[in-house]
């Protein structure tokens, strides 16, 4: 077998050095009653040709569609060299950079990643990444609970992505803190409700999303003060690509900025891997979960990077650690670091402008058909929510049959639609024409 190099001569010699007669003898300490003695019920080994054929068949069961869906996962563009560099085996096949002397490549790019995340979010500092946006948000809630003395709960706006909220609920339930929902008006966080709930006291953190689940860009002016006056932390989950242009969590006065980096060109891949990011104020540095890379020097007086502040982490602090996180999404952090290096200061704005323009164009075209109406009267970026006067499920299926993923259903009469810089005017016109022909067929 190509992954198992032992010849029978070598086996004999090695067994003799190991002091046993057979491979089976290596397991003489395993009670016979629990030994696995039959064959695994698995397919026989496949050659590479058979593997390719096998996955040809599975791949043919998928229909890649022209994507107008978002809801936390976006079909953005990435330059071709990003994928080619992250496939370099020195990055792909190495372990967590505990041995700094032979891991400067990884440590160096994580330092760049942290710098870029801090720039994008307008925050002081960043960690080396989290699993995804949802778990990063849950970890931010736990961090707020640890920072807030005598707090019992975290507030979350009802305009947050329901899938992020579901993960928050899981963590809140088991970690043991309350999670209360702040209501919404016109698709935005209800300030009066927020104030009233803060007035009750005991709130460790307030979590909002930007743009929110409906694609609405919320105005958070003054919200940080409202939170801070109630001794609560202010936590913003952002679609990070949009921060190329939108006011940053730092500018809004957030204490913690979290989210997923998927919108920075990471393939959708059925939902993962993405890369969670977490940034915060300098004050909260030592309360952060996960790995952090810091600057130092070596014994030859050279600049070097190293994993630092490890006393927060599970391998040192065990049950008193700030989190249980060990592996994060390092290679995906490299992905977005290379993406941001190439797109740079100007490219991220240009991509954001294209997404914005395409989305507004499609929005107006759909509203002009008369079958769609804006669900909220509020500014949006590259994602928007419309009400539809027909059956939303049927619309999604009929579009899928014609090669389009038109969006994500948010309720029986509403659909959430996203446009990225990958969608040409032709794509958009084709979608609108397709919807028109579906409607005509129905008549």
């Amino acid at each position: 077998m190509k992954y198992l190099p032992h010849t029978s001569e070598e086996l004999a010699e090695m067994l003799s050095v190991a002091g046993v007669k057979s491979l089976d003898d290596l397991y003489s300490d395993v009670p016979e009653a629990i030994r696995f003695r039959r064959e695994y019920n698995l397919p026989e080994a496949m050659s590479e040709i058979e593997i390719r054929n096998y996955f040809d068949r599975l791949a043919s069961l998928n229909d890649p569609l022209i994507c107008f869906a978002g809801a936390g996962c976006y079909d953005h563009y990435a330059p071709s060299i990003v994928q080619s560099i992250i496939q370099r085996s020195e990055f792909l096949t190495c372990y967590t950079p505990y041995q700094a002397e032979i891991s400067q490549g990884t440590l160096h790019y994580i330092f760049e990643f942290q710098s870029m995340m801090a720039e994008m979010t307008g925050m002081d500092i960043s960690n080396a990444s989290m699993y995804d946006g949802a778990t990063a948000t849950a970890e931010a809630a736990i961090m707020a609970m640890a920072a807030g003395k005598k707090c019992t709960k975290v507030l979350v706006s009802s305009t947050i992505d329901p899938r992020v909220r579901a993960v928050l609920e899981t963590y809140a339930h088991f970690h043991g803190f309350g999670l209360e929902t702040v209501g919404e008006t016109n698709g935005q966080t209800d300030r009066n409700d927020l104030q009233a709930r803060l007035n009750e006291g005991g709130v460790a953190g307030v979590i909002v999303q930007q743009p929110n689940y409906y694609g609405v860009i919320e105005d958070f002016s003054g919200m940080a003060d409202i939170c801070h006056n109630a001794k609560s932390l202010f936590i913003i989950n952002s679609i990070i690509a949009d921060l190329a242009v939108l006011k940053t969590p730092g500018e809004w006065g957030a204490d913690i900025a979290v989210g997923d980096g998927q919108s920075l060109g990471i393939p959708m891949n059925f939902g993962g891997p993405g890369v969670g990011y977490m940034c915060c104020t300098e004050k909260l540095l030592r309360k952060m979960p996960g790995r952090i890379v810091g600057l130092t020097k070596d014994n030859r007086e050279q600049r070097a990077f190293v994993l630092t502040l490890q006393a927060r982490e599970q391998h040192i602090r065990r049950q008193k650690a700030t989190s249980n996180i060990c592996s994060n999404q390092s290679l995906m952090a490299l992905y977005v670091t290379i993406y941001l290096s190439l797109m740079g200061k100007q490219g991220i704005k240009e991509a954001a402008e294209l997404s914005y323009a395409g989305a507004h164009y499609l929005h107006d075209e759909l509203v002009a058909t008369g079958w769609f109406k804006p669900k909220f009267d509020a500014p949006f970026f590259n994602e928007f929510c419309l009400t539809y006067d027909g059956d939303v499920d049927a619309l999604i299926e009929e579009c899928a049959d014609r090669g389009f993923l038109v969006g994500v259903k948010t309720d029986d009469s509403s659909i959430l639609i996203a446009v990225t810089e990958q969608r040409t005017k032709q794509d958009i016109d084709n979608l609108v024409e397709t919807i028109k022909s579906i409607r005509e067929d129905a008549v």
Binding site: H6, L23, F91, S126, F270, L295, L334
Partner: protein, 475 residues
């Protein structure tokens, strides 16, 4: 080979006006973000680099030269199972029919991706002797947390709400107690015997003392010393009789392939690190994948721990691996990994101190050099190995010994590779006697020398902006 220019930070290679991207012209008329209310816009651009494409390519290619991966050489990192990461896995995972699928597509348009997940769940269930798996956890520690959540839900569903404690051996991976804490559980530590296995008498005492409050016991088997816990049937019976469940930390699953299944050992819930046992790459610390399996009847308690379907792009590689090695070879994985470990142990135990001299499984632990008079520590041995082109073993873990040096070779390594490693380890033992200062100041051939950890932690500089501002302050 390293180039000084390209080895700078990417920010230091930036020149205003350069670009490394190309985008189509805007065809959408006059729509512009400048039409948004000013209060919603950022005041200052993100200070990202401005570089041409070749500069970016050279910068990251140069960085890669400062790394050491499994493809570069032997990686005997104990507890991490640094297997070969087959390239066919990468080829299949990169197919656009998989990568271009949105997680919220109508089900009938992504049956291929769903089938990948379903096939893998079935195969993992067969390999472990459990009923079903959730593929959503995104790393091993995430799997541990998910598994403990399942256990708590099980007890809660029975109204058994007093079960808030988890028994964990003192030799366990740090993630075990940390995951218990995140899950709102209290850790009760059970002692190890001199041979590193669970002290069943101490366990019996703990079980009696904590009656009615034990949610679970977390174990890895073989344990972190690489020793099989032969009392496992008795331990499982003890915990089950008390009403608790058994959790298996799959970090050490590799030597059990072909030998013994966690389900048959009496475990009810477990996670698998696909990036260890099933050959998906470690990627410098992720993305991993930590599927959680359960005994029949517990499937209903799978919690929501991620927004979508877990790290699909990772776990598809595990399916490719299982199909590639197949039924006839998977049963050889555990025995050959175990043989490689025992061979190294036997060939080195005359110069390195072996605290527990018995047949190990996939890994074993030395307590530093046998000859302690030279002052050469485990750290020094590890750093000297780097000079010889080997990755270091895991050091100072487990905490049971002062000079732990934990070696795990995996089944993929050939006898020549292992013999070469043994020779170098023996050579370092000689060097420790003849020239201890040289070993203590190793590594000498790596791009950088030993780093100042204290400096990094005392004045944390974790972004380029902070780096510039502290350079300004010093100037």
């Amino acid at each position: 080979m390293n180039n000084r220019l390209y080895g700078n930070l990417i920010f230091e290679l930036s020149h205003p006006g350069r670009k490394g991207y190309s985008l189509p012209a805007n065809q959408f008329g006059s729509f512009s973000t400048s039409q948004l209310p000013e209060t919603l816009l950022r005041k200052k651009d993100a200070e990202l680099p401005e570089c041409d494409e070749l500069t970016v390519v050279r910068h990251y290619t140069n960085l890669s030269h400062n790394n050491f991966g499994v493809n570069d050489g032997f990686y005997p990192l104990g507890s991490c199972t640094m297997k070969y990461n087959p390239v066919i896995n990468e080829e299949i995972a990169a197919r656009p029919e998989f990568t271009a699928i949105h997680p919220l597509q109508p089900e009938y348009t992504c049956e291929g991706s769903s089938a990948v997940a379903a096939e893998l769940r079935r195969m993992l269930s067969e390999i472990t002797g459990l009923a079903d798996f959730t593929l959503n956890p995104m790393a091993g520690a995430h799997g541990e947390l998910t598994g403990l959540m399942i256990i708590r839900s099980y007890h809660e569903s029975r109204g058994d709400n007093a079960r808030t404690k988890v028994i964990i051996p003192d030799s366990a991976h740090g993630t075990n107690p940390a995951s218990a804490a995140v899950c709102g559980l209290e850790v009760v530590e059970v002692k190890s015997l001199a041979d590193g296995t669970v002290d069943v008498d101490d366990l019996r005492r703990l079980v009696a003392e904590n009656q009615g409050t034990i949610a679970a016991m977390m174990m890895t088997n073989p344990n972190t010393l690489g020793l099989f816990e032969r009392s496992i049937p008795e331990i499982a019976e003890l915990i089950h009789a008390e009403g608790g469940l058994m959790y298996y930390d799959g970090a050490n699953l590799n030597p059990m392939l072909g030998a013994c299944r966690p389900g048959d050992m009496g475990f009810d819930v477990m996670h698998i690190n696909l990036h260890k046992t099933f050959s998906t790459p470690h990627g410098g610390g992720g993305p991993g994948s930590g599927p959680v399996g359960v005994r029949s009847g517990l499937e209903q308690f799978f919690p929501t721990v991620g927004a979508f379907n877990g790290n699909f792009g990772v776990y598809i590689k595990a399916l490719v691996y299982i199909l590639t090695i197949g039924r006839e070879n998977i049963k050889m994985v555990g025995p050959l990994a175990t043989l490689n470990a025992n061979y190294i142990k036997e060939r080195l135990k005359d110069v390195y101190e072996l605290p527990i001299d018995s047949v190990c499984k996939h890994e074993f632990v030395f307590n530093g050099l046998k000859d302690k008079s030279t002052g050469v520590t485990t750290m020094d041995v590890a750093k000297r190995l780097l000079d010889y082109g080997y990755h270091a073993p895991t050091i100072y873990f487990p905490l049971l010994f002062h000079e732990s040096l934990m070696i795990e070779p995996t089944e993929n390594e050939s006898k020549e590779t292992i013999d070469g490693f043994i020779e170098v380890m023996r050579c370092i033992a000689e060097e420790a006697k003849e020239d201890p200062e040289m070993v203590k100041s190793a590594p000498h051939t790596t791009p950088i020398g030993r780093v100042d950890d204290v400096l990094a932690a005392k004045h944390p500089v974790v972004t380029y902006k902070q780096l510039i501002s502290c350079a300004d302050t010093n100037a």
